[in-house]
């Protein structure tokens, strides 16, 4: 799936939360969206997912689904929802269901049969690490890390061609973080899906992403292609610079 952003702006009162002139993501890319708090990462996710109204501009998704070309503006049509998966925060979880019930619900509304669901859940076995299924617990009573796992699996269950995950490494223990990295890399390769991941964890993001986009005050200030050595040093230099700048103010 290709995703194109054109002249996108969003303000909250006086504060400009997002101002992107042009940004294009191509099929199969694994994008890392990095930036400090308040840079506009979650706002961008919400606008892409039509959960927030942009002041101007548009987000277009296009590509091939089942051999058919598809294209739509996410704020004007709902067709993109069939091939998009996302997890932003706990506001995506129906927390009075058990994980099994939640996955079954998502499977049913996505037209996935019980046997296919069972097969797909097996692929997430390592990621779940025996802590999600069979616990006889409602989602609201799970730990934050396990809630995060339920949300991420829920987003990937219908094998979306476009996957958006906001801070997927948050709340996860080190083992699960590594499993998450493996999961994303495998999924990207096997499904040729476009994946956008926002994270504060630079190491993990740099490890798995083929492209890193740096946001600051709602603007894209850098867009790095894969060149690991250069990319790592430049991004680390950027965040060091910001830290020094902030400390100077203090």
């Amino acid at each position: 799936m290709n995703l194109t952003i054109e002249k996108l702006t969003k303000s909250f009162g006086e504060k400009i939360a997002l101002d992107i002139d042009h940004y294009a993501i191509h099929t199969g890319e694994l994008i890392g969206l990095v930036g400090n708090n308040g840079a506009g990462k979650t706002t961008l996710f919400r606008i892409i997912l039509d959960l927030l109204h942009a002041d101007s501009g548009c987000v277009t998704i296009d590509g091939m689904v089942d051999g058919q070309p598809v294209s739509c503006d996410t704020s004007k049509s709902e067709s993109w929802k069939a091939y998009t998966g996302a997890f932003v925060d706990a506001g995506f979880l129906i927390d009075y269901l058990t994980p099994e019930e939640y996955f079954r619900f998502l499977a049913k509304i996505s037209g996935i049969s019980d046997s296919v669901l069972h097969h797909r859940l097996l692929q997430f076995d390592g990621f779940m690490n025996g802590e999600v299924l069979g616990q006889k617990t409602l989602i609201r009573n799970l730990s934050m890390g396990n809630k995060q796992k339920v949300g991420i699996i829920g987003a990937m269950l219908h094998y979306p061609q476009l996957l958006l995950l906001d801070e997927p490494f948050n709340f996860l223990d080190p083992t699960s973080q590594l499993a998450m990295k493996y999961l994303l890399e495998t999924y990207s390769k096997e499904q040729r899906a476009t994946i956008i991941v926002s994270s504060h964890n630079l190491t993990h993001t740099l490890d798995i992403c083929s492209r890193i986009t740096l946001l600051e005050h709602g603007q894209i200030i850098k867009d790095y292609d894969k060149d690991y050595a250069l990319l790592t040093s430049e991004i680390e230099a950027y965040f060091k610079g910001v830290t020094l700048e902030n400390n100077k103010d203090v």
């Binding site: 959960l51 019930e101 009573n141």
Partner: protein, 502 residues
């Protein structure tokens, strides 16, 4: 701590407590709610003033002085006051949590909150009654100082009652059934002190004597109240100290849940999945369950009253009222907050295609299914020939085809999340539109039916309601889609509201 530090801390905490109430997201948002609450207070104030004046007139010229009658009946005032506090008063332990880690002695915090409890304006609410009554009854015997003593004396009794309530409320928070103890105590004291020996009702005489003491500024009366208040204050101080830790350590009891697949609903496809969601939401969320149970109980109670008694037999409007209310009350109670429960996970629904439409359809079918309960109950009055089967059918179809479409309109405008597992008082309050719509949904059908019965007869009224209801019911896919389209137009505003009120 120096005195100025104590005063500064006391003022800061008091200020925070005031802001806590004033800045509740729903209270800030809802101007009408604010105005209504002021009107409510003003109404009760005027009502109490009127009762004060008329009670004086009623007792004037009797064997006892008017104030003796009122003072002697103190236990009744205290019982009513005790019961009303359940809706008004929180325990300090619930509020102290956020200050616990600050560098403020816990003892001081408790004294601050307990003192504030004694000085809270609610303890003065009864003065709307006692000032006009006292002004008419007391000064002619004890002068203006006697009147002042009378008012202060009664205020102290309500302060005492607030600490008495706090003691029991804290225990009730630990074990619900403890509420029976104070109720039993009040009942025993009232019976034993007033009715047991009617020739010499010691409680009546004792409280009248105590209050006469206040009017005369007799130190014994003040001493008696002090002897009661101070130990009760100290007991509460001790009790709250342990209650803080209970409150901090409070965790939701996690019960094992059996995964329920409800496969019998699978045949209905996606709608069936949302029906499962609706059923599970009702079973597993405290707020939704309470709404549902209250609605169902109201429905059953009214159906029972109508079916098995002749209370409303000679009252045509009440007959219509109950008949319509049986069929609509559950819908009114649950649909006024339509989509508010889903506000908790609206983002998850909105990234999937037409999920809200399927959800609305499931909600409609669920409500229609629930109409079978009042229909079953209405068989009794039908057999007893209190109403015709056409009237019952008219009410049922009018509910599904007119009242529900009307209430479902709120799906377009509701934008406040209700907290699914909180106590109902903390879950979220009705907004202006919700209140207006629920009132209209309850009363409009009654007036329509009543007008039709009065202008024509029962049969014409029933046929008209069946016709209107049938049209609305058959056309449900159309109006539900229309609601969905309008919801989608307002989606950003609604989602924003849901997120902000989570």
């Amino acid at each position: 701590m120096t005195l100025s530090q104590i005063w500064l801390l006391y003022r800061s905490i008091s200020q925070n407590q005031r802001l806590h109430a004033r800045r509740h997201p729903m209270f800030e948002k809802n101007l009408v709610m604010k105005i209504l609450s002021y009107i409510f207070i003003a109404f009760w104030a005027v009502y109490l003033i009127a009762i004060g004046v008329s009670l004086y007139q009623a007792f004037e010229g009797t064997a006892l002085e008017a104030f003796d009658w009122v003072d002697g009946g103190m236990v009744w005032f205290l019982i009513i006051d005790f019961l009303t506090r359940f809706a008004m008063q929180e325990t300090p332990a619930q509020n102290i949590k956020q200050y616990k880690l600050l560098n403020i002695p816990t003892g001081f915090l408790l004294h601050t909150f307990l003192l504030r409890m004694g000085l809270q304006p609610y303890n003065l609410f009864w003065t709307f009654f006692f000032i006009p009554f006292g002004l008419l009854a007391v000064p002619q015997f004890y002068g203006i100082t006697g009147f002042v003593g009378f008012i202060i004396g009664w205020w102290l009794m309500f302060v005492l009652n607030s600490y008495w309530y706090l003691f029991w409320r804290t225990l009730i928070n630990r074990q619900f059934f403890i509420f029976l103890i104070p109720l039993a105590l009040y009942a025993i004291v009232a019976y034993w002190g007033i009715f047991y020996d009617e020739a010499n009702p010691w409680l009546f005489n004792g409280t009248a004597l105590l209050m006469r003491g206040f009017c005369q500024w007799n130190p014994i009366s003040w001493l008696i109240v002090a002897v009661l208040i101070v130990p009760l204050y100290m007991v509460n101080h001790r009790l709250q100290k342990t209650a803080i830790y209970v409150e901090i350590a409070k965790t939701e009891v996690v019960r094992q849940v059996k995964t329920r697949n409800m496969t019998f609903l699978d045949r209905f496809g996606v709608i069936g999945e949302y029906l499962k969601l609706e059923i599970k939401s009702t079973m597993r969320n405290l707020v939704v369950r309470k709404q549902f149970l209250t609605g169902t109980l109201c429905m059953l109670m009214l159906c029972g009253l109508f079916s098995f008694t002749d209370v409303y037999d000679g009252m045509p409007f009440m007959r219509i009222f109950i008949c319509v209310y049986c069929f609509t009350c559950l819908g009114v109670m649950t649909l006024t907050t339509i989509l508010c429960a889903e506000g908790n996970y609206i983002d998850g629904l909105m990234v999937r295609k037409e999920t809200v439409l399927a959800l609305l359809k499931a909600k409609y079918y669920f409500q229609c299914l629930m109409l079978l309960v009042p229909l079953g109950f209405s068989l009794m009055p039908i057999i007893e020939e209190k109403i015709t089967w056409m009237t019952a059918l008219g009410c049922l179809l009018f509910a599904s085809g007119a009242v529900f479409p009307f209430l479902f309109q709120l799906a377009v405008y509701n934008d406040s999340t209700i907290h699914l597992n909180e106590k109902l008082t903390k879950a979220g309050r009705d907004t202006k539109v919700q209140m207006m719509m629920s009132a209209a949904a309850l009363f409009l059908p009654m007036f329509v039916m009543y007008a039709l019965v009065e202008c024509f007869n029962d049969q014409v009224a029933a046929i008209s309601m069946i016709t209107i209801g049938l049209i609305g019911t058959v056309l449900h896919p159309l109006w539900l889609r229309n609601i969905y389209k309008r919801f989608m137009k307002r989606r950003y505003q609604n989602m924003d509201g849901f997120r902000n009120s989570r």
